[in-house]
């Protein structure tokens, strides 16, 4: 009985998934697979200006739908992926694209971690070398040692 129920439930779930997939494919139709691919990539890479941590494919905000529709129109017109991204950046600023451009300021984000690692290791290596160097035992060292020994011996006698 239970296995039967499971089978029916599984069948329902399968049907549900099949129909929703079909409707997504029907909603947008493209001349070529490349354009469909471009549209899918763009809607994933463009960021919704309202629901800030969602892409426009994911968001249900009005502005996200408007951007999706506009991306669709531009892709239908045969615009390249970069052209569509530039179009959106012109209007919404760099914020709208999930890949920020490399500018003199953002380049810091790439360089700084590497720099910190290099400096850190350099520091360790330099210190290590200094510590490993053989040091000569000088007259002054001998004197200091003797003075200290004397001091401790005196203390021990007391």
């Amino acid at each position: 009985m239970i296995t039967r129920l499971r089978f029916v439930l599984g069948l329902c779930a399968g049907l549900f998934i099949a129909t929703t997939n079909a409707s997504v494919e029907d909603k947008y139709q493209f001349e070529s697979k490349e354009r469909a691919q471009t549209f899918a990539e763009l809607t994933k890479e463009l960021r919704c200006p309202k629901c800030q941590n969602q892409n426009i494919a994911d968001s249900d905000a009005v502005v996200a739908k408007d951007l999706r529709d506009r991306v669709l129109t531009l892709v239908h017109e045969g615009k390249s992926k970069q052209e569509v991204i530039d179009f959106m950046i012109d209007r919404y600023g760099y914020f709208v694209h999930y890949q920020p451009p490399v500018t003199p300021l953002t380049v810091l984000l790439w360089i700084l971690p590497g720099l910190i690692i290099v400096i850190g290791f350099g520091f360790i290596v330099v210190r290590q070398r200094k510590a490993a160097q053989a040091q000569e035992w000088t007259e002054a060292d001998e004197k200091q040692l003797n003075a200290l020994l004397e001091k401790y011996e005196q203390r021990g006698q007391q």
Binding site: P49, K50, Q52, A61, V62, V63, K65, D66, L67, D69, R70, I89, D90, R91, Y92, G93, Y94, F95
Partner: protein, 190 residues
Amino acid sequence: MNRKLIGLVPLAIFALLSVFLYQGLFGDPRELQTGRLGHPMPQFSLPDLMDENKVWTEQDLKGEVYLMNVWGTWCPTCIAELGYLTELKERGIKIVGLYYEQAYDPDFGDQFDVVKLREEVNNMLDRAGNPYAFNILDLERTLALDLGVSGAPETFLVDKEGKILVHHTGDVNPRVWRAKFAHVLQEITP
């Protein structure tokens, strides 16, 4: 001496990091960069909200400094700022409304009832104050998209040549006016 200086390095890094992170506490993530600052008002041709035979274009707006306020009756913050905008209008600032219709979506077969909308807008403006010289109806939100509008309310300050000088997301209140608009307006008015 040298060793002491090196010892201070971690403290210096910590101090810098603290300042950086402390500033982050007060950052507003909704304060977006906008691509349209310093650029001319985009081309458009849209009807007046109250009279579909009257069509406005960006050329009609040239020659005067104005605020363009993106709003809708569905947006509570927009209604809250109507009072202060009316005050600004009484000080002699021209305010153009860009009506941002949210619910309309032709893909879902929505019918748009402009007569009902006019009635709603008039009621609202009678109650809360009417700062607008006129309202432009952007039913498909095309001008809004070209302006980089992400919702309502948003306000733009545009100069005589049609150049966009300020783009503010959120309501306009005395604090925002002082911080973002007043000094820019003062610079361009002789």
